[in-house]
Subunit: 207 residues, 2 copies
């Protein structure tokens, strides 16, 4: 699978490093679906910490949530393969996690009277959702739409980098820039996917 | 198809009344996809009118946008059936229209310092998207998830009633109540759909 701005080698290395952890969690009886739910719960807590202006604590919680999000697939593989419900739950949890993070960014923009952060967050939320929706809808109609520079892994890495810039370098504008970058890349990805689906599906003449 | 809080007879009557209009538009060469794009463009304009505090103009534009949204399907039927790309475009445009309306509500909540409107709008936006996403994702995995009281027609009717309450009765709290109602009903619908998909997909044991 394409990871957009995240190099494939980095994604592979992260998965390789997590594999022993996943095998151990599987051995002690922790299911992939439990980790999926824990991951989205942690992300919602992290988003709430952003809203109350605690970027350091938010970063720590969000990184653990993101690792859980990668672990669930690894546990499913350690268990010999995932279930269809596991795939559905994972995808739905990812959308909920995106909603929490960008809602938090919008709330920050609103409370700080920063229209750039507010609107960047609204566009990032809507376009991120649409990128995933377009893919699922295309698949339900028998087409494929996975192109574009901003699949979920890329969006997550950019946002976490922005939170790190705010928390570690004490530069809140880096968080605003990260949200704006996700808004831009997601919109481009959305357009690419709609065009790809148009090419794949428009076999009958347009009526 | 279920229309939730909109009685089936009302939905049927609306479609029946629009059929001659649809046949005429088809006869003069206007395509379903053109009406889909016009409908979402009108909805975005209507949402922008809400943000700048013009509920009367917003109501007029949003109602025309909603009619266009119903007309596209009728034109496709008048043309002898829709294309798969038409179905894809229609669904994607609906999500974009929802994003515009609830982003406008969130912006109003932010600019008026009304946390209830802001958070109701964020939940309505995210839950509406998730309701549609869960259905598309379930279909891509071979399951069906169409249950619940808040499919798109119901959400649209509730929001338009709220805008009408604000514009015609000069009662802005009716708009806040409508957005809050959509947030609540969408969240309930989301939970119902996830449960329905769990029942349909969890044939293999949970690993």
């Amino acid at each position: 699978m394409s990871h957009g701005v995240v190099p494939a080698e980095v994604a592979r290395a992260a998965r390789g490093g997590l594999a022993p952890v996943a095998r151990w969690l599987h051995a002690v009886g922790i299911t992939a679906n439990a980790i999926t739910v824990a991951g989205v719960a942690l992300t919602i807590v992290g988003a709430a910490l952003l809203v109350v202006g605690q970027p350091g604590a938010a970063l720590a919680v969000l990184v653990v949530g993101a690792l859980a999000d990668t672990l669930d697939g690894a546990i499913a593989r350690a268990a010999g393969g995932g279930t269809r419900f596991g795939a559905f739950l994972d995808s739905t949890a990812d959308r909920l996690a995106d909603a929490a993070i960008f809602s938090a960014a919008a709330a920050l923009g609103a409370s700080q009277g920063d229209p750039i952060l507010f609107w960047a967050a609204m566009v990032a939320l809507s376009a991120s959702f649409l990128v995933s929706y377009v893919r699922a809808k295309a698949e339900s109609l028998g087409a494929v739409a996975t192109v574009g520079p901003a699949p979920r892994e890329a969006r997550l890495v950019i946002v976490l980098a922005g939170v790190a810039g705010w928390a570690i370098l004490a530069l809140p504008p880096l968080f605003v820039a990260a949200v704006a970058a996700v808004a831009l890349l997601s919109t481009l990805t959305l357009i690419q996917r709609v065009v790809a689906v148009a090419a794949a599906l428009q076999t009958k003449s347009d009526r």
